[in-house]
């Protein structure tokens, strides 16, 4: 159940889907708004957490983003890329929080607090050893590398978008995704040959 939920967010859902949602929300459809919320709540919360390092604040930021989307729904036709808009708004609001409340804390990705990728019993039931080990390997990546890899792979953001979001160069995004893949593939190559019972 967890896995199917993860798959439903971001990249794997067709892009026209979000256009339809955008249209319906513009027309005041609360159900569509809830669908949008369900899809982006978790990835946006993770982004906010990575910036403000505070759970309560991060949750408030996500609430603010969605409240703003709903209140400003009349402007939605002018938004050409709603998904990017959500990420950019989360980043902007989170940075405002940092400026207002956290005094001197700024966005240093290498000290960013990121969600841990660990295993819960439910996921363990439906995933095999291999998936488990890959997720452990992912949780062992350096924080910046992990955040970039997650934004590209799981959230389906474009390289350009990740670069703009984190204020880094596209080259850095390319390199970090490359490094993550290389490390994870090494890990998997070892697992495939050493794990008992895995074909």
């Amino acid at each position: 159940m967890k896995i199917s939920m993860m798959r439903n967010c971001g990249r794997s859902s067709p892009e026209h889907d979000i256009h339809e949602l955008q249209n319906s929300i513009f027309n005041g459809d609360t159900q569509a708004f809830k669908t949008l919320y369900n899809r982006y709540c978790t990835p946006l919360l993770q982004l906010a957490l990575a910036i403000v390092h505070n759970r309560e604040m991060a949750e408030e930021i996500v609430a603010d983003v969605f409240i703003a989307v709903w209140r400003k729904r009349n402007d939605l036709p002018q938004v050409s890329n709603l998904k990017w808009y959500l990420y950019a708004a989360t980043r902007n609001i989170a940075l405002n929080y940092v400026r207002k409340y956290a005094r001197k804390k700024t966005l240093h990705i290498d000290e960013v607090h990121l969600p841990e990728y660990t295993i819960n019993p439910e996921a363990q039931l439906i995933s095999n050893e291999l998936v488990r080990h890959i997720n452990i390997a992912i949780s062992e990546l350096p924080p910046q590398c992990r955040l970039i890899f997650k934004l590209v792979k799981e959230d389906g953001l474009k390289y350009r978008e990740v670069a703009d979001l984190l204020n880094i160069s596209i080259k850095t995004v390319e390199n970090q995704v490359g490094i993550a893949l290389k490390k994870l593939t090494r890990m998997k190559a070892i697992l495939v040959t050493t794990l008992p019972g895995h074909q």
């Binding site: 892009e15 949750e59 609430a63 409240i67 929080y97 998936v131 995704v177």
Partner: protein, 328 residues
Amino acid sequence: MSKDRIWILLGKQLSGDIAAAEQAELEALLKEDPEAAASGELAASIWQTPLQDVNAADGHQERIWETLSPQLQQRRHTPIVRRLVTAAAAAAVLAATWAGWILLRPTAPVLQQLSSAPGGKSKVALPDGSIVWLNRNTRLYYEKNGFGKQHREITLNGEAFFDIARSEGVPFIIHAGEVNIRVLGTAFNVKAYAGDSAVFTTLVRGKIAVSFQEKTVVMRPEEKLTVPLSGQAGAFEQAHPQKDSSGQLPETSWLNNKLAFDNNSFGELAAMMSQWYGVTFHFESAALQQLRFSGIIDTESIDEALKMLQLSRPFRYRISGEAVYISN
């Protein structure tokens, strides 16, 4: 060095964010290194593995919803600090709302970028009142400072239909690669994707001047001008496209969400469909690329479109993710 390059390119390929040249580079690298090719398959399976986020199960989704849902209906009464934050939020949202999104650059000059949603089209209003429809995978850039007053210059990468507001004394100039288009109040279409070999301009009404290197051509309504980027400046090609039964020029049919092709080779069609669907085509043989098709793709999925094409010419196809393989 080239080892790391493979990983960078694999990442771009798996994310679907890879340029044609990079794809070719990757295929060449994989061909010369069988071990890397095997790693490529492992990497693909890793890409399919969902990240299991421990936070997903902590109930935050319900918790945040409870916070925000009461605020969707009525104006809230909240302490000042909270309201300040909301004001900041609204400001951020407004900034991002206007005509797409703003590329925030802390230093001058301020480059504004407008882009269509991946796989979708967008209609945007420029600050001077001009309206632009962006086709898929299209980006517009302009210098925000003084736009509409001191200048109206934009850079186009992709395809767009322009309905330009009149503005005495401030010409609207579009830079499409090395081709410049100068406008005074009019409506026209420009196709100038980065991979295209030429810039195609189709004028619907009004008057525009297109220049490339030394040469300038003034266009009349319902004319289409092709400026090849490889040849010399003299090689402009002027044509009068036929309107279809609805009275529309084929060059602007994408506005109605249609992909029109008229006796185009499969190779050309593949380039159009790549942009339309965000896929890459791989042909088994060059002869297949020479097959010719005419038709219009409207709201068909890529699978339906290929089935439709199969009705007129025999070929086989296989769709694998974002790659389409065409064979005999």
